[in-house]
Symmetry: none
């Protein structure tokens, strides 16, 4: 998955690039519209373009138009500092798939990107959801590995499935019965006890970063807090 990010604010640009890279998107950063279109022509095959609207040398809308001439398909998301509806409408006219008003959370950007991939039936959205950043930990649900300060540890299948589910709903409660039906097939008493055992195992795996915790919501389920 390759992403072209065009953003003139160096701080925000670097931050976003780093974040997207961490999430598994290979991200190129262009400093303005001119550089943006250069990247696009030379590098081609991006799966997503994220364009700031207000940029020196060539603004986001002009950039988007030129990108559209080269590629009718690639999804474009605008970052706009204003919440003006006119901006938005113009954005959609040049073929945007979504727009985000600053300030926004990086998590939100990611969700919108995933939503677009989902809409496009790109299964890559799934693939992407397989790497998670949890404080100092990196969890790869594909290979069932958990890395912390360079130490890798291997998770078992069940451990990994459960942690993945928690990651996908981080900071939100995951109901017991939902997790049980999804991972164990049914939510019988014994499976529930088994799940409790796995929660203990995961807590041990994650004990080295105290900013991460798996919290129990009595009678409801569990919540992964980062």
């Amino acid at each position: 998955m390759k992403v072209l990010l065009t953003e003139d604010d160096p701080n925000l640009g670097m931050l976003l690039q780093e974040y997207l890279n961490a999430k598994g998107y290979e991200t190129d950063l262009a400093r303005n519209g001119e550089e943006g279109i250069k990247f696009f022509i030379e590098n081609g095959n991006y799966d997503m373009c994220i364009c700031d609207v207000m940029m020196p040398k060539k603004d986001g809308f002009s950039l988007a138009k030129e990108i559209r001439m080269k590629d009718k398909e690639v999804p474009i998301i605008f970052l706009t500092a204003k919440s003006m509806k006119e901006d938005t409408i113009q954005g959609f006219k040049v073929g945007a798939d979504d727009y985000i008003t600053k300030p926004f959370s990086m998590e939100e950007l990611l969700m919108r990107m995933k939503a677009i991939f989902r809409r496009m039936h790109k299964q890559e959205a799934e693939t992407q959801a397989n790497t998670f950043q949890l404080g100092g930990y990196t969890f790869d649900a594909q290979t069932n590995t958990l890395t912390h300060n360079g130490n890798q540890s291997k998770l078992t299948t069940k451990e990994s499935e459960l942690l993945k589910l928690l990651c996908q709903n981080k900071n939100q409660s995951v109901s017991r019965s939902f997790a049980l039906k999804l991972i164990w097939g049914d939510d019988s008493y014994f499976n529930a006890r088994s799940m409790d055992v796995y929660i203990t195992k995961l807590r041990k795996h994650l004990k080295d970063d105290t900013s991460i915790q798996i919290m129990n919501m009595h009678g409801e389920g569990f919540k992964l807090i980062v």
Copy 2:
């Protein structure tokens, strides 16, 4: 926070209503556009409207126009089954703040709602932050911790949910039945007694700062006074 949800599919409607209620948004459900505008006129003061586009009796766009005539401010989100950009543009023309293409995850809807509140500088940001200042106490509803002069104490799930609800309505009365339906699911006699027990527990937790108190409004509910 009050939300007007207009959705003709009963399953989806109920599901969303339940979810939003659980997340702390008092949500009314209308079955079609006509009912929607009726709710809006009678009930007024909604903080957000979520409108399905395709509905019998009055479609989402017409509904939105009528809502706009009554209220220039209230944010509107459209739910649309098509991903057609034309729909979207028309949506923005009648003053929408966002649109979501079905199928979507409830989490995504929530994020977009929060984004809009953030944009509007609504204090909803507090709800998002999930942390409250109560005199000398700091309450973090995410981690269920209450801190006072450096001493942390851990709250249980129910304690935390109840305190959070009181915080969200601080210096305002919270009705018994609303709290019960939100936290316990229904307002039966025994749940009400259980809630009373929790009020006692919270009072004990908060006893070290006399400027804070949970006051009973006889026959109505409770009010957190700071």
